[in-house]
């Protein structure tokens, strides 16, 4: 390099943004700062964390045994002893929803995790390789998309039989196509970017390009859709057990609680309200959280 070049080089700013030091902590800090400005998402996050904590430790903190009947206090509204009232066998509703949160959340979360994994892999492959593989995957998900979510889940459970695991499978199956679609379009978008072409011009093999260059670029769409789909999955899992396709009816679960409560709707409406409102709030919280995450993570909205 000539001296002249070196001289000019000294004047060139080294970093476009000298403030932004390249540390991971800074990125996390920036994320937290931005996210905490979204009040609805923040409240949702707090609510969901509390819910999950309660669900996990519920067996140790419930005020009553959720399965123990008390025939002297049947179908009672909220009292000092039973804050949320009792059901048709005199079981404490508060204890039952606390324990019920475990199954409801577990079903929904594991179904969405399975569905996300499969959908993401399929979407990435379809978007990257194109051709017959893409047609097969995308037409396959179009077929699944043609059914209303819950109908599809019912059909699957009808085929493989009721039970917790089967509910998870059913909900996972109808989560797959939405992920496949979103991930495919995200993949195609990232695939067209210059840095992927650069990687190819450096002789990078396809599989490496797909996982180290394209996948990280699509992760944000994945996270957002993930939170959104949990809401739907909770609703679906609850609906399935409401319809009697869920697990053992003696195990408390929000959907099945709602289902039994239906019979006493006129005499003991609190039985419907408690699990119903909880399902509503949880689904809402996941959606708001998803919105907040999208607003914070999506670089296009910055």
């Amino acid at each position: 390099m000539s001296e002249e070049t070196a001289k000019v080089l000294d004047q060139e700013p080294l970093y476009a943004d000298a403030e932004a030091l390249p540390t991971a902590q800074n990125r996390v800090k920036a994320f937290i700062k931005k996210f905490s400005k979204r009040k609805a998402a923040l409240v949702s996050l707090v609510f969901l964390v509390a819910l999950i904590v309660v669900a996990v430790i519920s067996p140790y903190i419930v005020p009553y045994d959720p399965a123990a009947p008390d025939y002297s206090h049947m179908l009672e509204g909220p009292t000092a002893q039973h804050i949320l009232g009792t059901d048709e066998f005199g079981r404490d509703v508060l204890s039952r929803v606390m324990v019920g949160a475990r199954l409801s959340l577990f079903c929904a979360l594991s179904a969405v995790v399975v569905g996300t994994f499969l959908g993401t892999v399929l979407g990435l492959l379809a978007g990257y390789y194109g051709g017959i593989l893409e047609s097969l995957i995308m037409r396959g998900s179009d077929v699944l998309f043609a059914f209303p979510d819950i109908l599809l889940a019912i059909a699957i459970v009808a085929i493989i039989g009721p039970g917790t695991v089967n509910v998870i499978i059913a909900v996972a199956v109808f989560t797959v196509p939405s992920f496949a679609r979103i991930m495919r379009s995200a993949t195609i978008q990232v695939k067209g970017s210059l840095y992927v072409e650069v990687a190819r011009s450096l002789g990078c093999p396809d599989r490496r390009i797909l996982w180290t260059h394209i996948f990280p670029g699509t992760i944000q769409s994945m996270i957002v859709n993930f939170t959104m789909r949990i809401g739907t999955a909770i609703l679906a899992a609850a609906s399935l057990s409401f319809l009697g396709y869920g697990a053992d009816v003696t195990v408390p679960e929000w959907g099945s609680m709602l289902s039994t409560a239906r019979n006493y709707m006129t005499t003991a409406p609190h039985l419907v309200y408690v699990p119903g409102v909880l399902i509503f709030l949880t689904v809402l919280a996941f959606n708001l959280l998803g919105d907040g995450l999208r607003d914070t993570l999506d670089p296009k909205l910055k």
Partner: protein
């Protein structure tokens, strides 16, 4: 005479536009590149410069484009006949490429070091720490004052000039014999542009790397190259040494291009321009592709396409024009 590195003969690249239709983006392009030579490829947008470079790199894998005919002989091997895998081992290792927009050429999710280490380890069996050391050396070689800091940066933290230096380092890290620079300085401002060009010249003289410099900036060609090709509508219309090209352009298109470059102190208030625009690839005129825009066009120009013919007495110089050598042509230049 220097050793020949690349021989492109009759390269024709087509893009599929429908089930049975296709357009020809590059038509019968023939040129060669010696070791250590900087060859300029000039032309306006859409004339097939970039497609030529992508054809050499074989980067059409999943677009509709393909090399329809012709050969690209690189160091004795025809690149068009290699398998995907063989091609991959040449890309980045023996031929590498720098792109137009440095800011988006780097993966924004990865630190600079990860990308450089990846590029090094793709073609060399070295450990991560060795690769990192080499990456750091490469960065200082391309004139980055604080390689360690840059290695730890994310691309958005670098300025455009720095990013292009990183890109060049990445393209050079396997010591390729040939580098294709596709408008490497278009997105940079003028001072940075000068530095990057200087750097490329440096690299050429240090490693005897051949450079195919694609640009629409005639100033860059004058500064960098010994020889230049002028492309129009997918064809080479003129090939000449840079001195000859600027001193006495022959093809009316080249004449127009050179006339439209602003000159200091000339006192001209408005620059001359070439009327009309590049013909649509799917609706090419019969005859000379430049005829509709050429003010010297004759009947013959509109009917038959001229060949790229050697210019008498012009040391390897070639031109694709009916009028050249005839009375009208000479008048046209006068």
């Amino acid at each position: 005479m220097a050793e020949r590195l690349l021989d492109v003969t009759g390269l024709t690249t087509t893009f599929r536009t429908g089930k049975k239709t296709s357009v020809t983006a590059v038509n019968n392009v023939t040129f060669s590149l010696d070791r250590g030579e900087i060859l300029g490829l000039v032309g306006e947008s859409g004339c097939g410069k970039s497609v030529t470079s992508l054809s050499i790199m074989g980067l059409f894998e999943d677009t509709a484009g393909k090399v329809a005919s012709g050969s690209i002989v690189f160091d004795g091997e025809d690149l068009t006949k290699l398998t995907t895998k063989q091609m991959r081992s040449i890309r980045g290792k023996r031929i590498s490429m720098i792109f137009q927009n440095p800011m988006s050429s780097l993966n924004s999710c990865m630190r600079v070091e990860a990308q450089l280490i990846e590029a090094i380890r793709l073609h060399n069996d070295v450990s991560k720490s060795e690769a990192r050391q080499r990456a750091s050396k490469m960065l200082s070689a391309v004139g980055i004052p604080d390689p360690e800091q840059t290695l730890r940066s994310y691309p958005h933290q670098l300025s455009g000039g720095m990013s292009q230096r990183v890109m060049i380092a990445m393209a050079l890290c396997c010591e390729p014999e040939m580098m294709i620079a596709d408008e490497p300085t278009t997105a940079l401002d003028v001072t940075i542009q000068a530095q990057i060009l200087e750097l490329m010249k440096d690299i050429r003289s240090r490693n005897n790397t051949s450079i195919l410099l694609i640009t629409h900036d005639l100033g860059v060609v004058a500064e960098m190259c010994s020889r230049a090709l002028v492309m129009y509508a997918g064809r080479i219309v003129e090939e000449a040494s840079v001195e000859e090209l600027f001193a006495s352009p022959i093809h009316p298109y080249t004449v127009g291009l050179i006339a439209s470059v602003p000159k200091l102190g000339s006192g001209v208030t408005s620059l001359p321009s070439i009327p009309g625009s590049v013909p649509d690839l799917s609706a090419m005129p019969q005859g000379c592709k430049f005829a509709p825009r050429c003010k010297y066009a004759q009947a013959v120009c509109r009917q038959t396409e001229p060949e790229l013919a050697p210019v008498p007495g012009g040391n390897g110089r070639k031109c694709r024009c009916h009028l050249f050598g005839k009375e009208e042509g000479k008048e046209a230049q006068a």
